[in-house]
């Protein structure tokens, strides 16, 4: 049923201009999400504000449909004074939560569209020594609202030793500043060894150092996606060259988990804060919201049960007698 319905996923991409975001996104999804992009010059960037640009594509692979929304944030980090850089981004994330909250509390909930941001790729510059003040401020402002996956693109500027050093430095700084990034869950004990090993490798490689490209280059007799230099060819899908494959694997195999964490953690945070604050919600929402401490899945099941009971009652009234088995046979 899920396969038929298709998956929805919203990925937000944040980082200074020129760090390789667009190239990476195009490489990940093997498509061109930015066909007619205009990149502003330095003069226009001096006072540039941050925009939100969401583009949705429907991708299909072996019968599995994915409705992917990529939310781009052009202008981030461009202006000389980036003081107000993230207000727009945070508002956007909150708006999606607000909309979902509204829809969820509505009467007709069959077609709730989930536009909440499930994952945010935050691009860190590979040219520095670690996190910059803007990086720290931004991640701290959103780490309770969205799953942060730190990414280092244009990794072909780092030698292997420099890469390890930068990764370690960034992880240390993330811990030092109390930034909460997305943690891959450990593999279940009943999974096979290969999967467990893969998960261990993925966890050990964060933050991922990647190189993006959709150009086909001839290397070692075959055509590969990569970047051509006078001194050699960087292969995007070569695990010895960069972590691109790891990033892609992580994203695909954890898409579901990213959505769940968004739902169970970030959304619930938003919701409880929001309801504590008060404000307008459809009044019938409060019928079900007496106990704020009830976990969401219990709440949802109760709502489903009530809906089913209502439907049954309808049927009973219509058919006169009604089949009592229909009520008892349900799993509660």
């Amino acid at each position: 049923k899920s396969v038929k319905k298709g998956f929805e996923f919203t990925l937000m991409v944040v980082g200074e201009s020129g760090l390789g975001k667009s190239t990476l996104i195009n490489s990940l999804f093997l498509t061109d999400l930015y066909p007619e992009r205009i990149i502003p010059g330095a003069a226009e960037k001096i006072e540039r504000t941050v925009q939100i640009e969401a583009s949705t594509v429907e991708i299909e692979e072996r019968g599995v449909k994915l409705r992917l929304t990529v939310v781009d944030t052009p202008g981030y980090g461009d202006a000389i004074n980036c003081r107000d850089c993230f207000k727009t981004i945070i508002s956007y994330i909150d708006e999606q939560f607000e909309r979902y909250l509204h829809d969820e509390s509505g009467l007709n909930r069959r077609h709730i569209i989930d536009n909440r941001v499930h994952c945010c790729f935050y691009f860190i510059s590979p040219f520095g020594h670690g996190l910059k003040p803007l990086d720290v401020e931004f991640m701290k402002a959103i780490h309770n609202k969205v799953n942060i996956v730190p990414v280092i693109a244009k990794a072909d500027t780092l030698s292997l030793k420099e890469r390890e050093r930068l990764k370690k430095r960034i992880l240390d700084e993330i811990e030092e500043h109390g930034i909460k990034i997305y943690h891959l869950p450990d593999a279940e004990s009943d999974e096979d060894e290969d999967f467990k090993e893969q998960t261990r490798l993925l966890k050990a490689s964060i933050p991922f150092c990647v190189v993006g490209s959709n150009q086909l280059i001839e290397a070692k007799g075959k055509k590969v996606r990569g970047r051509l230099y006078p001194w050699g060819v960087v292969e995007v899908e070569n695990p010895e060259h960069n972590d691109f494959l790891k990033l892609r694997t992580m994203l695909i195999t954890h898409m579901q988990d990213l959505q769940e964490v968004t739902q169970d953690l970030h959304y619930e945070n938003f919701r409880s804060e929001r309801l504590k604050r008060g404000g307008r919600l459809p009044s019938h929402a409060y019928v079900f919201l007496k106990d704020f401490s009830m976990p969401s899945f219990q709440l949802r099941r109760m709502q489903e049960m009530i809906a089913r009971m209502q439907a049954q009652m309808q049927m009973q009234m219509q058919s006169g007698e009604g089949d009592s088995n229909a009520v008892h046979g349900h799993h509660v």
């Binding site: 760090l19 010059g41 003040p133 500027t157």
Partner: protein, 427 residues
């Protein structure tokens, strides 16, 4: 009194003469070289670029040595300039090299004021030189010239264009220092991307009126190579102090899984071009331009600010001495005037305060008089009342005496004829 007209150079006719034999003044250039070598040279480089972009590594690579620096932090609250001076020697030539780092550049969230400490540092070095030049007893030949001869501006290899900070900063610096823009960490840009990037950068600089240093093409000896190099700007460089074996040689390079980037390989990057231009061909021109163009501009602006002029209204050249005297008189006059003003103000203030005090005193005195009068009136009233009371008391006493006398009289009378009284009563 007219000043004697001195023969001005250029007014006379030049006459060429042929020499009959070898005189020996063809050794002048050698003498100059020898003297310069003995004196030693100083060269000052300012490095501006994001933290971590490779400034220190490039300096190490250019001068084939290790200048001690620790890795800079991204958390400086403001840009600060850090000059370090080193004594280098090659053959018998001494170079006093100063490398100035703009620490913290590009790290703050608000970069509005980032350019300011840099401009202030450059101006301070000019000011110091100017002060030395204007001294009565000066030793310019001995003076350690700290003026910045070249600013290497490190551009981040985004592949798009300049950053807003780059544009704003270079615009503030271009009239004060020779700027050579370079693309740092250029081993992340492919050949085709690099070509586009260079064009974009140069066109942005031109369209925003930023003047960068042009390698001089007026000297025949270097005109050709310089004009070729000018076309390669900005130089795309890669720095490294590590050595990698390539073939059977150890070369300075960066080792990657996919290949080795050789620093001194001209098809890999423009490092060699930068070294040629900066050190081997144009170092002296950079020093000269700093002195004759940037410093002169600073000096002129500063002196004009102070009120100096080159010619008076009659177009007679001013002597600096006369101007000094005039300025001094003006200044002293101004000082005196101010002093007088202050004194006057003080006197006025004192008068004012005195007047105030007098007024207060008068008021107080009035009040006192008023109170005294009231007091006297009250006292009079009290006296009157007392008199009244006394009179009343006296009247009362007289009546009392009168009544007592009557009583005693009637008592006597009744004791003598008590019955009569009763009889009278009964009647």
């Amino acid at each position: 009194r007219r000043r004697a007209e001195l023969p001005r150079p250029g007014n006379e006719e030049k006459r060429s003469l042929a020499l009959g034999g070898h005189v020996g003044f063809d050794s002048l250039p050698d003498q100059l070289v020898s003297k310069s070598v003995t004196q030693g040279f100083s060269f000052n480089i300012l490095c501006v670029g994001e933290t971590g972009i490779g400034k220190s590594t490039l300096m190490n690579t250019l001068f084939n040595t290790t200048f001690e620096t620790e890795e800079a932090s991204h958390y400086e609250s403001a840009v600060r300039l850090r000059p370090r001076t080193y004594d280098l020697q090659e053959s018998n030539v001494h170079l006093k090299l100063t490398i100035v780092d703009a620490v913290g550049f590009g790290d703050q969230i608000n970069k509005d004021e980032s350019y300011r400490p840099i401009v202030e540092y450059i101006d301070t070095q000019f000011e110091n030189y100017l002060q030395e030049e204007l001294k009565i007893r000066r030793s310019l030949f001995n003076y350690h010239d700290t003026r910045i001869h070249v600013c290497l501006y490190f551009i981040t290899p985004t592949g798009h264009s300049l950053k807003s900070l780059d544009l704003v900063t270079m615009k503030k610096l271009d009239s004060k220092v020779n700027i050579i823009p370079i693309i740092a960490k250029a081993d992340t840009i492919s050949k085709s991307e690099l070509h586009k990037f260079k064009i974009k950068i140069m066109s942005e600089l031109v369209s925003n009126g930023v003047q960068i240093y042009q390698f001089p093409t007026d000297d025949e000896a270097v005109a050709e190579i310089n004009s070729v190099m000018n076309a390669h700007l900005p130089f795309a460089v890669v720095g490294s102090t590590e050595e990698v074996k390539v073939g059977n040689k150890l070369v300075r390079a960066r080792q990657y899984p996919w290949g080795v980037v050789q620093v001194e390989n001209e098809s890999h990057c423009d490092f060699v071009k930068l070294r040629e231009m900066l050190i081997r061909v144009n170092m002296e021109d950079l020093r000269e331009q700093t002195h004759t163009r940037h410093y002169e501009l600073y000096r002129r602006c500063k002196l004009e600010e102070m009120g100096f002029k080159d010619t008076d209204p009659d177009s007679q050249p001013f002597s600096l001495q006369e101007t000094y005297e005039t300025k001094r008189k003006e200044f002293l006059g101004e000082l005196q005037r101010k002093e007088e003003e202050m004194r006057q103000m003080f006197v006025n203030k004192v008068k004012e305060t005195e007047a105030e005090l007098k007024e207060k005193e008068r008021e107080l005195h009035e009040k006192f008089e008023h109170l005294k009068r009231i007091h006297q009136e009250e006292k009079k009233k009290v006296e009157e009342k007392r008199k009244e009371l006394d009179d009343e008391m006296n009247a009362f006493n007289r009546r009392k005496v009168a009544v007592e006398t009557l009583q005693s009289q009637s008592l006597q009378a009744t004791s003598q004829q008590p019955l009569k009284k009763d009889k009278d009563k009964k009647k």
